[in-house]
């Protein structure tokens, strides 16, 4: 396991020093900052309007619900674009540069390579979204009140969703030596999962339940509303293991390709 940490640390530092890494960070912060400030200002306007007209604040339009749930839903869409860029390097680039062979010569087991790569991605992802905790601080500083519960579950959901997408991207990356193919295919898969969410709306039972269960966004939405259902957690855990298992098999194929 120590080896996996060593590899993860290398992945993390390499990513943060690469142009792709810088771009991913910059784009994420610009977009999340834009979403956050738009949501906060529109919330302020709506609540001021209703106060002027002497109405009670519309029920269900709490700060938590309006700002954070929406913010996290929007950020999940941002992930569609950023995850392919994060995972395309993992195996595809190393294979292209022929440094993957070098990695295989080190005393790593296949399992450690997989965990090292995945953990590196998870760390990058955490470094990406944990600074958004600053938004909570800003809200408090502005004097806003919010529920801790739903915000925490939203973070948990976002973490699970991001990691699940990364596992998918890692698998695609392990199949090809072209970064472009890796990114495009990962993006296509993610969009496919997004579409499933819509398909669930327009199909009849039992198909609508089937698509609803299959789409990660449906499960994620519940988290942003502050609901932690065991079935959703189990779904994400399966999603991870399914793609990590496939990646492990894909790494192992090198032994019988030769």
């Amino acid at each position: 396991m120590r080896n996996a940490f060593v590899l993860a640390r290398k992945e993390f530092t390499c990513f943060c020093r690469s142009w792709t890494g810088v771009l991913v960070f910059v784009i994420f912060y610009i977009l999340s900052g834009a979403f956050f400030s738009l949501l906060v200002t529109s919330y302020a306007r709506i609540s001021m309007e209703s106060a002027r007209q002497g109405m009670q604040v519309v029920e269900g339009l709490g700060l938590t619900r309006f700002v954070f749930s929406t913010l996290f839903l929007n950020l999940s869409v941002v992930l569609f674009f950023l995850v392919p860029a994060m995972t395309m390097r993992s195996f595809a680039e190393e294979r292209k540069l022929q440094t993957l062979e070098l990695l295989y010569t080190y005393p790593f087991s296949d399992f450690e390579i997989l965990w090292g790569k995945f953990l590196g991605l998870v760390w990058i992802f955490e470094a990406l979204f944990l600074p958004t905790i600053g938004y909570l601080v800003i809200i408090r500083w502005l004097g806003g009140e919010f529920d801790w519960g739903p915000v925490l579950t939203a973070y948990l959901g976002f973490w699970l969703l991001g990691n699940a997408f990364l596992a998918l991207g890692l698998f695609v990356s392990s199949l090809t030596e072209s970064q472009v193919i890796s990114a495009v295919v990962t993006f296509a898969f993610l969009i496919l999962f997004w579409i499933m969410d819509w398909v669930a709306l327009v199909t009849e039972e039992p198909w609508s339940t089937f698509f609803k269960m299959l789409s990660p966004l449906g499960h994620y939405r519940e988290f942003t509303l502050g609901i932690v259902d065991l079935s959703h957690v189990v779904y994400f855990i399966f999603f991870h293991f399914y793609f990590l298992f496939l990646t492990l098999r894909s790494i192992e194929t090198r032994n019988w390709k030769a």
């Binding site: 080896n3 060593v6 590899l7 290398k10 530092t13 390499c14 020093r17 080190y106 005393p107």
Partner: protein
């Protein structure tokens, strides 16, 4: 990734102790001539330097045996010489197994040669051993500077005990080159030079002929029974 960072990563992977890590890496950096480029990005280095980075990472953790596959392929002549010198330097302390198709490199660098054909070891030994196993007699090439004295020289040389055969290899611009077949295990070079001086034959050049490793290789591989192309 920078050279030093990469070596630090490899040192961690190979389990080099934390307290020794820095010293160990610096030692390998200077051993492989990478000290000046330690802060540069590996991707931006020339091929020779990248090859050295590869060698340095292989050396981390002090393995006793190193297997190098075509270490000089794709390098320019200056880099080839540098890498060869490095390999020779390393060979003093470690066992190096060098796999290569460049035979002059083998005769320059290696102590022992193994020739593998179709997955079977068909010859092993030092270059000299391989050569002496292949031929039953030894040859000396003698060049004299006066072709009027050719016949005199030939009869003289034939008279020396141990010389089995004297042949003219070529004649050109008044010079004559002779090959002398000499019984195995004898060195008659001093004898011959003395004779030339005594009889006033201008001796321009004399050397014992060696088979090059290419010739040895061809002879061994071609002579190997039943190993032709299938």
């Amino acid at each position: 990734m920078r050279v030093k960072e990469f070596l630090e990563f490899v040192a961690d992977v190979k389990g080099v102790r934390r307290s020794e890590k820095r010293k160990h890496i610096e030692e390998k950096l200077s051993q492989c001539g990478l000290w000046e480029v330690r802060g540069r990005l590996i991707g931006k280095l020339s091929k020779g330097f990248r090859q050295r980075v590869g060698l340095a990472q292989a050396l981390l953790g002090d393995p006793e045996i190193l297997v190098l596959d075509e270490p000089t392929s794709g390098l320019d002549p200056k880099q080839i010489i540098e890498i060869r010198n490095l390999i020779q330097e390393l060979g003093k302390e470690k066992t190096l197994i060098l796999s290569t198709h460049i035979l002059p490199e083998v005769s320059m660098v290696c102590d022992r040669v193994l020739i593998i054909n179709h997955g079977k070891v068909i010859a092993s030994g030092t270059t000299e051993e391989l050569e002496s196993g292949l031929r039953d007699r030894h040859e000396i090439l003698v060049t004299i500077g006066d072709n009027a004295k050719k016949d005199e020289a030939m009869t003289l040389f034939t008279g020396v005990p141990g010389v089995e055969r004297v042949q003219v290899l070529y004649e050109k611009e008044g010079q004559v080159c002779l090959t002398l077949g000499i019984a195995k295990g004898k060195d008659l070079r001093s004898e011959i030079s003395r004779l030339c001086v005594q009889h006033d034959i201008p001796l321009l050049e004399m050397r014992s002929s060696h088979l090059s490793l290419e010739e040895i290789f061809m002879k061994i591989v071609v002579n190997e029974p039943g190993q032709g192309f299938k």
